[in-house]
């Protein structure tokens, strides 16, 4: 998608790809035949610029024919270059950062009010934690005992202008979330077993909301993209595309 349309943001799409793979294969209770089923789990991607991974996951899951992804970012396509709720299986449009977590709190609150056990998952980027609106939610969610809210941080350590630690260092992130009264986990966001075990550990026994800090690598899986700021923006050339596909296979 990114290569064909000369789009951006492949680095951040790859850093969260393993997280989505585990969620969509093994965790989320969703049905492509009935994408608005009441009791489904809700997954909200807040870092909407990384939508290509989400579209791929939804296509592979059967929400639409993966061939439709050939229209990505083309004239008239529903596959916008930031997540669009017009795409089957997408819960919310996202492009402006710091929006999906407050909405996720509303969804999780509705589940509490209706005494339903479905879960709300929200995936944010590390740089996105600069947005104050996220911290309004991070303060409130424990107060509301949103036990079925699971926040995932794709901690790939690089944001738009450079390394997170050089722009606004968010460390100590684990301790911050603990201090804000969240049930906090920190794992390797590319280790499928760790991802699976941690998602399964996020059950209802504790009334706190959950956060999983996933240490990830921007551009994961493609050697020349890994940990490179450039791949927040750059689109692969033909040569780079061929090389990337070779490495992924």
């Amino acid at each position: 998608m990114v290569y064909k349309t000369k789009a951006s943001h492949i680095g951040g799409a790859l850093s969260m790809a393993d997280i989505l793979a585990v969620l969509y294969n093994d965790i989320l209770n969703i049905d492509p035949e009935s994408p608005k089923e009441d009791l489904r789990d809700r997954f909200l991607l807040s870092k909407g610029h990384a939508c290509t991974s989400l579209y791929a996951a939804l296509g592979l899951k059967g929400f639409f024919d993966v061939k439709e992804l050939d229209t990505y970012a083309a004239n008239g396509s529903i596959f916008l270059a930031h997540t669009s709720h017009y795409v089957p299986g997408v819960e919310i449009s996202a492009g402006s950062l710091g929006h999906a977590l407050p909405v996720s709190c509303g969804l999780a609150l509705a589940a509490e009010k209706k005494h339903k056990n479905w879960k709300t998952y929200c995936l944010v980027s590390d740089g996105e934690l600069n947005e104050g609106s996220n911290w309004e939610s991070i303060l409130l969610a424990p107060q509301l005992k949103l036990k079925n809210l699971i926040l995932i941080v794709d901690y790939n350590k690089i944001q738009s202008f450079g390394f997170v630690k050089d722009i606004i260092d968010i460390e100590p992130l684990f301790k911050k979330f603990e201090a804000f009264n969240w049930e906090t986990y920190e794992i390797d966001g590319h280790d499928h077993k760790q991802l699976l075990d941690t998602f399964k550990a996020c059950d209802n026994t504790n009334p706190k909301p959950k956060v999983i800090i996933c240490n990830t690598i921007k551009g994961k899986g493609i050697s020349f993209m890994e940990n490179k700021l450039l791949w927040h923006y750059k689109s692969p050339s033909e040569e780079e595309y061929i090389q990337a596909i070779k490495e992924l296979n």
């Binding site: 909405v103 209706k114 609106s133």
Partner: protein, 307 residues
Amino acid sequence: MRTAFVKELIEQGKKNDKIFLLVADLGFSVVEPFAELFPERFLNVGIAEQNMAGIATGLAMEGYNVYIYSIGNFPTLRCMEQIRYDICYHNVSVKIIAVGGGYAYASLGASHHATEEIGMLRTIPNLTVCAPGDPDEMRAITRFSSTYAGPCYIRIGKAGEPEVHKKYSKIVEQIKPGDILNVIDGSDVAVFSSGAMLEYSATYISQNKLKASLYSFPFVKPIDLSQLLSLFKKYKKIITIEEHQAHCGFGSAILELMNDLKENGQLDQAPAVKRIAINNAFYSKSGTQNYLRTIAGLEFKLSDFES
């Protein structure tokens, strides 16, 4: 008007268990009756309006009709992007309630003067923009909003506004988006009043024994085009009055619609329009609401009524 709002919301809340009220730590001694009757459908989210707008969006996505309540600029300008992108782009059932429209909280200063929000909000697709003029209109708008599925903005004055329609023996019950309400029947000149300028307008016309008509516009957007067209044809001169900046406000909306009706051939002769609105300025003097209105020039002159 805020008391009329809460009382009507309670009445609707008794019939409709989807009505949910969020406040951002404001509404003391106003919203408590709703909170006491419906504790499961009331939440104080704290002083965090962006989060409030997002939570409202989430609740609305799950079937609630969510009212978010705060003062003037806080549930509007403070979370404008959440209103545009979360609430209006997803077109969910969230009703944004701002108390203290215009200079209602006059002496509290510019932070509490809501004098630009209509201009910002009326450009946003899917959003209905309401500014009721008296408690009767407030009740009717609240009833309408309680079953309306899309997003709405409702600008409320404060407490204690008089019943204007009743004074002129008019009945306001059912109201639909865009309705224009006649208050006083007159001749060549018509006053188009937006929001809480209604009482001033009615009193000015009555006390000066003017032969002008008075219409209240509880909706800034939409405005019913056929009703508006008939008024454009009926009057030679129109005076618009609003407690808002002149740019992009209610009077601007009237001029835009008049131009479009003329341009598409439905209106041959356009009436003259005098706009009374705030002239691109902040006012940083202390005083009452009437004082602020006066120094901002929100007043008629007798000469305005010469057609």
